[in-house]
Amino acid sequence: MDLSFIVIQVLNGLASASSLFITACGLTIVFGVTRIVNFAHGSLYMLGAYIAATLVPRLLELSFGPVTFWAGILAAALAVGLIGVLIEVVLLRRIYRAPELFQLLATFGLVLVVQDLVVQAFGPEDILGPRAPGLRAPVEILGRRVPSYELVLIAAGPVVLALVWLLLRRTRFGVLVRAATQDRDMVASLGVNQAVLFTGTLFLGAFLAGLGGALQIPRAPANTGMDLSVIAEAFVVTVVGGMGSVPGAFLAALVIGQLQAFGILVFPKITLVVVFLLMAVVLVLRPYGLFGRPEIVGGGHAVGIASRPGASVRRETMVLLLVAAALAFLPLMGDAYFLKVAIEVLIFALFAFSLQLLIGVGGLVSFGHAAYFGLGAYGAALTVKWAQWPMEAALPAGLLLAGAGAALFGAFVVRLSGIYLAMLTLAAAQILFAVAFQWVEVTGGDNGIVGVWPSSWASGRGAYYLLTLALAVAGILALRRIMDAPFGYTLRAARDSETRAAAIGIATRRHRWLAFTLAGAGAGLAGALYAFSRGSVDPTVLGIPTSVDALTMLLLGGIQTVTGPLVGAAVLHVLRDQIMPLTELWRLVLGLTIIALVLLFPKGLVGTVQAWRERGR
């Protein structure tokens, strides 16, 4: 490897770092002030690219020149800033006080909505923007050509950093932003108009996202996959840098840019895993990122199942068993497809219920529960494929692998709290996703593993349905028992007040770690059942959408109720199964449904019904 090549690769890394920083900087500012982790930030970035790629060529037709080009880029970024304002006024303003989980989900719903709207507005084809006038020709550096636009990009990062720094240090708006980042309630108490401050912050954040996207157009086409691919990296940058810290984001972007530029030389096939590994390592060593501060509000956001001494556990268990017994007669009525959907509903019910132990009881908002679902599925499939064991052995193997994985990751996760905890669980899931996706020799990569069919006695639809029913109900009852055991109440104590729980001698970390392991094992059983119901596994079982599914089910059913996740799983899965065939805009429908749930029914279906009943009493 000669010197000139290393220099070029460093420059490549710097250029990527700059664009990443510009985008992530917006994300971190928005988080600092509003405390919302904006999943839709990537969508704003994508919108910036699309708007610029459509707008700039038109402008260049009117008058060709660098001024027009850069004016077009700025105009696109401004337009995205205005979209950000719209989002703030219509959606975010209503959820500032909501628990983190609801905010994450609402912005994820926005991601889905924007994905479909972009295809509607800009058409299905990728749009390649024009090159920057005056910057077409490459520059020769050490005998190698470097696009001059890349050099401009490298400069753009520090320029944006300087401007943002000036804005934050030298203007009244900046002072307020910094004050709000430090203590939002104090700023409110001092009579600052929060509405204006928050709207302004969202404008700034969205503007930066749009700018990041618009600056991409001479390098890459605007396409519909941009949002999710940038948001994952932007998350890593903000978390590694410390949420809310602009210089931290800059440093993190530099590191990640270089890691990617040189990573593809050393490991051309495992590029995806490197960045998330970095994030996991940083969070383990420095729980609040490089420059982050511990969160002031701790536990105040927790939502969960109330500890109602009056609730009769025995009665609920009886009801659950009765329902299960009734469900056992389904094979007599439904056709094969109906049973398939029913099997999947049962599996997702167990999956969502295991998450309920973490979130509802333990107050640990996991954003990567798919990791354990996927570990269960892969554990079962790998056992069948490599050890040739039958289903009877593969199902426990899946459960054990997921439990072991959860124990391993959980040991690190429970050291954190709040949003950092959620991000570390996300990183864990993404690492596993990347491993499954890129370790082709073992996991089959994107193809996954096929031929994971049940043993012959359970191969009939009806038989497998009954098996799933038995195991899912057993799993749910076991988790239910755990929730109501002293162990579950200890978890609730730690959730509601960590300091008080610690003061009376509860080892909160160890309890949470155990809960994490148990929830992982429950999800693993669901995953293993899922693998055999489909006959195959592939990396999507580990993906972000799978985690979001579980969260949506929880939310839909009602996060403060015990039976919520079960109802949520049934309703969401049946809905999706019915909507997907009907319309290409199913992501739009699903996204709007999620947003509507967050805004209108934060208690979920079961929670709302319960509230009615209690009012009636």
Partner: protein, 405 residues
């Protein structure tokens, strides 16, 4: 959009829950229509699949003007396959058990194609792969229920390597998306290179994740290896980013570049005037094919959709006409009768005769091979020839060794 007839329960539930009114009843024909299931990645890979759907809709209209089996209409129930194996097999199951379709066709990504082939085998239902190109669909994962119309990776790469012989390039770099299609194409290329060009070696390999290329770094990593030939399997947004960086950095100068699919309008049009001239590609020069039958197809397509056809359009069009012929010959849509009618069947298609080889259920449809050239503001192909697929297919012994049936 073809709205499937909805079961009443479903329509009712949706109208209540989502506030969507939906009403579409089955057309009242004298005889019940033949129902065929179709699934593809309409939202995730719209650039290819939307023109593809236009293509099969055009063909469907033509077929239904006359009807099949004495006037019966064909009805295609179309679904989004979600671009993942899990969604695709669930949607397939829904089509088969709920919509009572007689057989299935479609899908885009190779990994989804492999999963669909496994599904077809498991459920003993006919599946005609539309776009998945990996050899596995007709080789390792092949089975008697799975057929493919498009030329597979070995055939297309074979055509390109044939062209590369003359170039004299010996040091090759490979860049391919890291999933089934890219891996399979890269593997085939390495094999053919060894067989056909003595002394050639692969000096660099880059496998960016699909849709996530770091174009600048990838280009300079390839450049660093100083290859004199590049084999490219990228498509979509990855390709566009790669080409632009490569152009600026002079990666392609004085090098032989072989590129799969890049001449197809769906991937070529987004490149606009950045078209890398001189690349040897497989593609579809739709505007230069003079055959009157093909011209009639292009005219009808343009008239109906006010757009130019892509390769996907041609494929969708061809598949539905081949399905019509097969149903006529089989005399019913019974799976076994259809399989019998498909094996070694000859079709007179809009691009000439195509045979469905019974050995591996792979059609002999060929590809247009030529060099990329900039024509005005967009790319096209020059010096192209249509190479029939028959000469490039897997040898018989290899098929027998690979296939389990």
């Amino acid at each position: 959009m073809v709205l499937a007839p909805l079961s009443r329960r479903l329509a009712l539930g949706l109208a209540v829950v989502m506030g969507l009114g939906a009403a579409a009843g089955p057309s009242l024909a004298q005889q019940p229509p033949i129902r065929i299931g179709e699934l593809n990645s309409y939202s995730r890979w719209a650039a290819f699949t939307v023109p593809y759907r236009n293509g099969w809709q055009l063909a469907l209209d033509e077929v239904n003007a006359k009807g099949v089996l004495g006037g019966r209409k064909i009805e295609i129930v179309s679904r989004d396959d979600g671009a993942t194996t899990g969604d695709a097999t669930r949607v397939a199951e829904e089509l088969v058990t709920r919509e009572n379709v007689s057989f299935l066709f479609g899908s885009f990504l190779s990994n989804v194609g492999v999963a669909m082939a496994d599904y077809a085998n498991q459920k003993k239902i006919l599946y005609i792969a539309a776009e998945p190109l990996t050899d596995a669909v007709t080789m390792g994962q092949g089975n008697r229920y799975t057929f493919r119309v498009r030329p597979n990776n070995l055939m297309q790469v074979g055509m390109l390597v044939e062209q590369a012989k003359a170039s004299g390039a010996k040091r090759w770099a490979i860049v391919a998306p890291n999933y089934e299609y890219g891996q399979s194409a890269a593997e085939v290329f390495k094999r053919l290179l060894k067989e056909k060009i003595p002394g050639a070696e692969v000096v660099a390999e880059q496998y960016p994740a699909l849709g996530k290329i770091e174009a600048g770094a990838t280009v300079s990593a390839i450049d660093q290896a100083r290859p004199d030939g590049i084999f490219n399997v990228l498509f979509g947004a990855d390709l566009t980013g790669f080409v632009r960086e490569g152009n600026t950095r002079g990666l392609f100068e004085k090098k032989t570049v072989l590129s799969l699919l890049t001449g197809e309008p769906e991937w070529l049009l987004p490149l606009k005037d950045e078209v890398p001239e001189g690349w040897t590609v497989t593609g579809y020069p739709w505007d230069e094919i003079k055959d009157p039958k093909h011209k009639a197809f292009v005219d009808a397509y343009r008239a109906k959709f006010n757009d130019t056809p892509r390769l996907g359009s041609l494929l969708g069009y061809m598949i539905v006409h081949m399905i019509r012929d097969t149903i006529e010959r089989a005399g019913s849509v019974d799976t076994e009768a259809m399989i019998k009618a498909l094996e070694d069947a000859k079709f007179d298609t809009v691009i000439g005769p195509v045979t469905m080889r019974g050995l591996d259920n792979q059609a002999t449809m060929g590809a247009w091979v030529g060099k990329l050239v900039l024509k005005g503001a967009a790319g096209g192909m020059r010096d192209w020839t249509y190479l029939d697929g028959a000469a490039f297919m897997h040898p018989e012994a290899e098929v027998k060794a690979a296939r389990k049936d």
